[in-house]
């Protein structure tokens, strides 16, 4: 028999990988690229971030800086016009965008972290742990969001990170429900049983196996949270319970401009437009991510 061993061609193993095999991340990325609206949205969103941070830094006027031109409509000198005090509205909107983005991204990250852990622990252990933990998040979910946020923000608010904290404290419960749902189905999988058979602790199973596998759904949810948070922050600032001057945000800009809606409409429309663009692009990105992570999506494009 020894002569036959040499006859086995050495490339046998290599031939098994003839089709370019892709890692999970590559597959997700490829499917994401198939979602046109999501790709366009992602480009717009990235451009917006660059504009807000780099553009704001390069632009000739600083936010809050008084210029000699009062109440000028949009022009090459002041693309978004100026307000009655002579402040350049373009610089103001860019700063508002920065703050609004910071608030919403912080909310999304904080709420996702807390919510994911909360939901995973509840879903993994089940039984009374699950019951108690989920009743608590149900309670948070039943609170009238705007009213509570307004009350909390009024007492503790003012700066952007405190506003973010308040909103996150209300939104984590949504995430916990999503995470629990995913973990409930994951914990029945054989690889979880395999980890248990190896002697893995509960913490290890949750953090190393359950959470990473739930990441797809959680990431999709995170994008939606960003959009929700930006809208809630806008509402709060508009109502006067959010970010307070000298800080500014898109919501605050809209609120300040409402008295000038007929006389200086550019002050109102530009921050409003930015809010809509951010919320819209993020929703599309979320859509694209959901499709990309959904393994059932095996459509063949012809």
């Amino acid at each position: 028999m020894p002569d036959t061993t040499t006859a086995i061609p050495p490339q046998a193993e290599e031939r098994e990988f003839t089709v370019a095999e892709r890692s999970q991340a590559q597959l997700v990325f490829r499917r994401f690229l198939q979602h046109r609206a999501a790709v366009v949205s992602l480009c717009v969103f990235v451009a917006l971030i660059l504009l807000a941070y780099v553009g704001g830094w390069l632009w000739k006027y600083d936010a809050g800086q008084y210029t000699p031109d009062n109440s000028v409509p949009p022009s090459w000198e002041h693309p978004f016009g100026t307000d009655s005090a002579g402040r350049d509205q373009f610089a103001q909107v860019l700063r508002g965008t920065r703050i609004s983005l910071q608030v919403s991204v912080s909310v999304a990250i904080l709420a996702t972290l807390v919510g994911t852990l909360w939901g995973s622990v509840a879903g993994y252990f089940g039984g009374w742990v699950d019951t108690v933990m989920m009743r608590i998040s149900d309670l948070v979910l039943t609170l009238p969001l705007i009213a509570v946020a307004a009350m909390l923000a009024h007492n503790f608010g003012g700066t952007w990170y405190l506003i973010a904290l308040v909103i996150a404290a209300l939104y984590w419960a949504y995430v916990s429900r999503v995470a629990r749902g995913v973990v409930l189905s994951l914990r029945e999988k054989e690889f979880v049983e395999a980890a248990r058979a190896l002697g893995a602790s509960d913490t290890r199973i949750i953090l190393r196996h359950l959470v990473p596998n739930a990441l797809g759904s959680i990431l999709v949810n995170l994008t939606i949270l960003v959009a929700l948070a930006i809208l809630l922050e806008t509402s709060l600032s508009y109502l006067g319970f959010g970010v307070t001057p000298p800080d500014t945000s898109l919501g605050l800009l809209v609120s300040e401009a409402q008295t000038a809606l007929t006389t200086r409409p550019w002050l109102f429309y530009f921050p409003g437009l930015f809010i809509i663009i951010i919320a819209l692009t993020i929703n599309f990105i979320g859509d694209g991510l959901r499709d990309a992570f959904d393994p059932q999506q095996t459509k063949v494009r012809q």
Partner: protein, 341 residues
């Protein structure tokens, strides 16, 4: 492959596992129980392979999981080297996990899709704090041992074929150098040409590492190939247990005979000339098993050969699993060995 060791490694004593059936609604009273495993006992010697065969719903996989304490037993003892696993504390059990490992049926579901293969194999080492001591090399060595290329270690499980994935599962189970491997249908999800590779690998590992196998399968041909002794299960009970030789040359329980006779041989002349023993009907519900002998409702002997008087014994008296002169224990009042192959 004939084991001569007499040292008993694992001893399963009167294990019972009932899954409660609860009523719907708020109170969820228990209204019954699925008797998945009813009073199962067997021994496994060091270096030996015991095959646990039966059709779906016979309780073989549940038995395997109870042995590993992945599912708590309702009653009974699982003695590993004389220590009862069912009564150990969680931390004591964790230490023993190193010696008892499992390979699962589905090589797709049993590997975490988010981890690269070398991390999957390193997982047991990390859990037991052994990775820092040359873990990387150990993983490479394990991959090589089961016939995988260590260079492929950073690929993900879905990039491998079914047979390769099952090897990954085996490498993971071997990482802690266990004494006993529970193999739960390890080859039934694989194509035959691939299945043979995994079976040969298991043979080689056992010969070199002195492992004991508890091999759970529905496939009698595979079990005959790999097992030294075989226990046949039906509706949560062992109906016949003996060496592979005894069971295939002189099966004495009508169910074993029906099973052997139902499996087609890949040999046209032999297959077309064989005697057939057919079983009628379907498996009764394990929530409400028949009285007396559980197999009597489908038993060809009961239906065709026994007198009414003899039948009443099957209905009233559950047969015990004892040697009735066939050289090995059988649980049938009217056991009679036959030659079928």
């Amino acid at each position: 492959m004939t084991a001569v060791e007499t040292q008993t490694l694992l001893s399963v004593r009167n294990v019972v596992k009932h899954f409660p059936i609860r009523s719907k609604g708020l109170v969820r009273r228990q209204i019954g129980a699925v008797q998945a495993v009813s009073d199962v006992s067997f021994d496994l010697a060091e270096g030996e392979t015991l095959g646990l065969v039966g059709e779906s719903g016979c309780g073989k996989s549940t038995t395997a999981r109870v042995v590993l304490n992945l599912i708590p037993a309702t009653s009974g003892e699982v003695l590993y080297k004389g220590r009862d696993l069912t009564s150990l504390s969680r931390s004591d059990l964790r230490g023993l996990r190193r010696e008892l490992q499992i390979v699962f049926q589905d090589p797709y579901a049993s590997l975490d899709p988010r981890l690269p293969v070398n991390e999957i194999i390193a997982e047991p080492l990390r859990i037991h704090g052994l990775y820092s001591d040359g873990g990387r090399d150990k993983v490479r060595q394990l991959m090589q041992t089961v016939g995988l290329k260590p260079e492929h270690g950073n690929r993900y499980a879905h990039e491998f074929s079914g047979g390769q994935r099952q090897r990954i599962g085996i490498a993971r189970a071997l990482a802690l150098r266990p004494k006993l491997l529970v193999l739960d249908e390890p080859v039934s999800a694989l194509d035959v040409s691939i299945q043979a590779g995994v079976l040969n690998l298991l043979d080689e590992l056992q010969a070199e590492l002195g492992l004991s196998y508890l091999f759970v399968s529905h496939d009698l041909s595979v079990v005959r190939h790999i097992a030294d002794r075989i226990a046949v299960m039906y509706l949560g009970q062992i109906v016949e247990i003996g060496t592979a030789e005894q069971l295939f040359t002189a099966p004495a329980h009508p169910y074993t005979q029906a099973l052997i006779s139902a499996i087609p041989l890949p040999d046209p002349r032999k297959e077309r000339a064989r005697e057939r023993i057919t079983v009628v009907g379907d498996l009764p519900s394990p929530a409400n098993p028949p009285s007396g002998c559980r197999f009597r409702t489908r038993c060809p002997k009961f239906a065709n050969e026994l007198t009414t008087e003899q039948q009443s014994r099957c209905v009233e008296q559950p047969p015990e699993l004892t040697d009735r002169g066939d050289g090995h224990p059988v649980s049938c009042h009217y056991a009679e060995s036959r030659t079928l192959l």
